[in-house]
């Protein structure tokens, strides 16, 4: 913020000295910025506009016959979505599994980050480096092994084995330790240790310090990790497909369900895909708008200090 202010001041001083017309001055200072922003907006929003259009085009229109603004906009696609497939089950599953796992992961990462940031213990450096190493091996690379493991678990714990939503949830929790832990540790490091110290002198336990002093102060990074984790999990279609793909459609998530719309016959179910995607994107975009400012500060603040 402050940098820009400075440069703004410097620029306006030079301008005034030059004695340009007000419009040229405005344009050189701010106008071109609007132009760049508008160009970026066109690039960013063009596909979104198009998918909105596809969703309200009459059922059965193909990519070719679709009009950007249909003559008779209709909600038929949305209705068909509720009637022909268990769309709302997918929706609920996604929110519960991806949202729940993201929430859980955030808490697990916060716990670990607290230990890494505030405590000194044997194996701390090794632990931090292992977390980094683990992160290099994304779960989708181990998909075959995951499949076989889940099959084995099914025999012992049928409730969390292959083909269950619980199993998928647990697999997602495997990603709790990773770049999140690092991001959080960096952020935790920026909270002055004096706060812990004084609380400890007042008799607070480590648990109380964590819950009542640290957690409220690191809310921004919690928001970031939750949101990024949520988006990451919603995007997963590979693991879902392996764990739930063969089972009952009711258990599917949005990713798997929407993919199936366009996987077999792309053009024919395009309207359904668009309508389903729109409904799915709404809560995420709303979340973004609320958490956006935290995301910006959370992502960079921890890193800056380190």
């Amino acid at each position: 913020m402050a940098i820009a202010e400075t440069s703004g001041r410097t620029e306006s001083m030079t301008r005034r000295a030059g004695g340009m017309s007000p419009f040229v001055g405005w344009f050189r200072k701010l106008g071109w910025r609007h132009l760049v922003a508008l160009a970026a907006l066109v690039f960013a929003l063009f596909p979104v506009v198009w998918i909105v259009s596809a969703a309200i085009n009459p059922v059965g229109s193909t990519l070719t016959s679709q009009q950007l603004i249909p003559e008779s906009p209709t909600l038929d696609n949305f209705r068909a979505l509720s009637n022909t497939v268990p769309y709302w089950s997918w929706y609920r599953n996604t929110m519960l599994i991806a949202g729940g796992a993201a929430l859980f992961n955030t808490m697990l990462a916060a716990l670990a980050a607290y230990a890494f940031s505030r405590m000194r213990f044997r194996g701390r450096r090794t632990g931090l480096l292992s977390v980094l190493l683990i992160q290099m091996f994304p779960q989708i690379l181990t998909i075959v092994a995951l499949f076989l493991m889940m099959d084995l678990i099914k025999d012992v714990y049928p409730a969390i084995g292959l083909g269950t939503r619980n199993g998928l949830f647990l697999i997602y929790l495997g990603g709790a330790m990773g770049v999140n832990t690092w991001l959080m540790k960096g952020f935790f490091d920026t909270i002055p240790v004096d706060l812990d110290e004084s609380a400890r002198i007042d008799g607070a336990t480590h648990g109380q310090i964590f819950m009542r002093i640290i957690l409220p102060l690191v809310a921004p990074i919690l928001a970031v990790v939750f949101l990024l984790g949520f988006i990451f999990l919603i995007n997963d279609i590979l693991i879902v497909r392996v764990v739930l793909g063969l089972g009952n459609q009711e258990n599917w998530t949005l990713g798997l369900g929407l993919w199936q719309f366009v996987n077999d016959r792309f053009s024919q179910r395009w309207g359904l895909f668009a309508a389903g995607s729109l409904l799915a994107a709404i809560p995420i975009i709303v979340l973004w708008q609320f958490l956006q400012r935290y995301v910006v500060s959370g992502l960079t603040q921890g890193a800056v200090k380190g």
Partner: protein, 536 residues
């Protein structure tokens, strides 16, 4: 750097001490942390106990041992006062161990086996499969059949057989015996009702116990009598016999002897019977050797390998360049509508990427895509090898620039303005100040995120696979490889879409190579950026 004190020493903790010391807020005597702890311990112990019977039942001792040991360890950590860091590290670590580390280790193991279609069972299962194969005895007679069972149809199965001459036999798994006419209870319609305690099963009961019936064999001097339908039985011979001593399988019909070679029973002539599945065995470095030596795999592999790096690096560079440009442009205090711009610009990132990739697939379609329609052109966005690469990068730019825009904005705002002011005082132009003060600081701040972005894009399966399925295909390649395939999509196609079935061993070997490459690049970059220096 703040000097942190050592807090390994645990201050007195637990609900009791919280009550004594936290007088100012007595309602927190049961701290949320403590309740969480209890719930967590209860869940862990409950889960462990729930699984033990099944594991004991199957005699799966490694599983039993690891569950017991880890549960006891967790209980110890949480009930002891001396293990504070572990209390915070264990929850995440457990899940990471089970669903991240073990799969990685397992992948490492599979990479050295021939696991895949045709070699998917264990050896015992393969033998069991072989021994459940029968050959019908030529010229043998068929029997009319009634299926019976003791204990009101719930107990031991028995077959009542009637041969062509009308002689009746009673067979159980123990053997076959002839029956005198009086021993069978028959109703007026001639339907068999019972023999001793054994009563006839109805069709529902028969279909319930179908699996048992299929594996039922009654030894007799003719051969093995087995039911073939609900009303007929025939005589069979076992087709294969396994000799554990010599570890050979013999075809009883032809006398051919098979020995196990690389997970398949193989005859002296080197042929494997098609009706016996193979099993997975450790094959050493065979999978890695195939990647290096087999022309069909190596050729496409090298192209994919190079493109993978190009794709990941260009994706990071392009998204970062555009994101930073926008961040600098919009980071002006008197610019109106900054917040609106920001809110709208992150929409591509907020949209789930699997959707976006599929949307772009439609937009870029050569014949009926909207982009060609708008441009009035007929560009082969997805079908021309070079244009396909451009398209993949374009779509990934669209997906990724909002993120870079966000973090660049944050980093710009976090850089203290004194630094820039100082450079002005020293006579630097705004451009010099940016290039020599702001940008290097920005890079230091963002380096870990950029490296993470590289690692992510290196395995960006969704964009590659959903946009174009890795296509267009490389002409003349013998494996399913495309011009935009990256290693992970190539691996996936090799493992699950290959013409010869699934090759999990080879796929795991490539997964291991990918891991080594990503880890290597990341370790190198981290060393260069000295991001780890802080780690004391």
């Amino acid at each position: 750097m703040v000097d942190r004190t050592d807090v390994t020493e645990d201050p007195p903790s637990g609900p009791g001490s919280a009550e004594n010391r936290g007088e100012r807020s007595p309602r927190f005597s049961f701290t949320p942390a403590f309740v969480l702890k209890l719930l967590f311990l209860a869940a862990v112990n409950g889960l462990a106990i729930a699984g033990l019977p099944a594991m004991l039942d199957q005699g799966w001792w490694p599983g039993v041992a690891s569950v017991v040991v880890s549960t006891v360890f967790i209980d110890y950590v949480y009930l002891s006062r001396r293990t504070v860091p572990a209390k915070y590290l264990i929850p995440g670590t457990i899940f990471a161990l089970i669903f991240q580390v073990i799969p990685v280790v397992y992948t490492g193991y599979i990479a050295f086996t021939n696991f895949g279609t045709g070699n998917i069972l264990t050896k015992d299962q393969a033998i069991e499969r072989a021994e459940s194969l029968y050959s019908s005895v030529p010229g043998s007679q068929r029997f009319q059949l009634s299926i019976l069972a003791s204990e009101d149809g719930e107990g031991e199965l028995a077959l009542l057989l009637t041969d062509e001459a009308g002689n009746r036999f009673f067979g159980t798994a123990a053997g076959l015996e002839a029956l005198a006419p009086g021993e069978v209870v028959i109703d007026d319609a001639g339907k068999v009702l019972s023999v001793d305690d054994f009563v006839a099963l109805n069709l529902g009961q028969i279909s319930d116990r179908q699996d048992e019936l299929l594996s039922l064999e009654i030894p007799s001097e003719l051969g093995l009598v087995r039911p073939i339908t609900a009303t007929t039985a025939a005589v069979y011979n076992r087709l294969y016999e396994y000799d554990a001593q010599t570890d050979t399988l013999t075809n009883l019909e032809t006398g051919e002897v098979y020995t196990p070679v690389q997970g398949n029973f193989t005859s002296a002539a080197g042929e494997s019977p098609e009706d016996i599945p193979g099993w997975s065995v450790v094959v050493g470095f065979d999978n890695f050797k195939r990647i290096l030596t087999s022309e069909a795999i190596r050729g496409p592999f090298l192209r994919v390998f190079v493109w993978n790096y190009v794709f990941a690096v260009l994706s990071v560079v392009l998204t970062f360049a555009l994101g930073l440009l926008l961040a600098i442009t919009l980071n002006h205090p008197t610019l109106r509508g900054r917040r609106v711009y920001r809110s709208l610009l992150i929409i591509p990132y907020a949209l789930p990427s699997f959707m976006s990739a599929l949307i772009w697939r439609g937009l870029l379609n050569q014949d009926f895509g909207v982009i060609n329609e708008l441009l009035g052109a007929n560009i082969a966005w997805l079908n021309d090898p070079w244009m396909a690469k451009v398209s993949v990068l374009l779509v990934n730019l669209w997906l990724g620039f909002p993120y870079m825009f966000l973090i660049s904005t944050g980093a710009l705002q976090a850089i203290p303005d004194e630094l820039k002011e100082a450079s002005y005082v020293d006579g630097a132009s705004p451009r010099q100040a940016f290039r020599q003060v702001v940008f290097p600081l920005l890079l230091v701040t963002l380096a870990p995120l950029l490296i993470a972005s590289f690692a992510f894009n290196f395995n960006n399966f969704n964009v590659i696979y959903l946009l174009n399925s890795g296509g267009p295909p490389i002409e003349g390649a013998q494996t399913p490889a495309g011009h935009t395939d990256i290693l992970i999509s190539y691996t996936f196609r090799l493992a699950f879409e290959g013409g010869r079935g699934q090759d999990f061993g080879l796929a795991s070997a490539i997964a291991l190579l990918i891991f080594i490459m990503v880890a290597g690049v990341s370790a190198f970059s981290f060393r260069r950026t000295r991001a780890l220096e802080d780690l004391t």
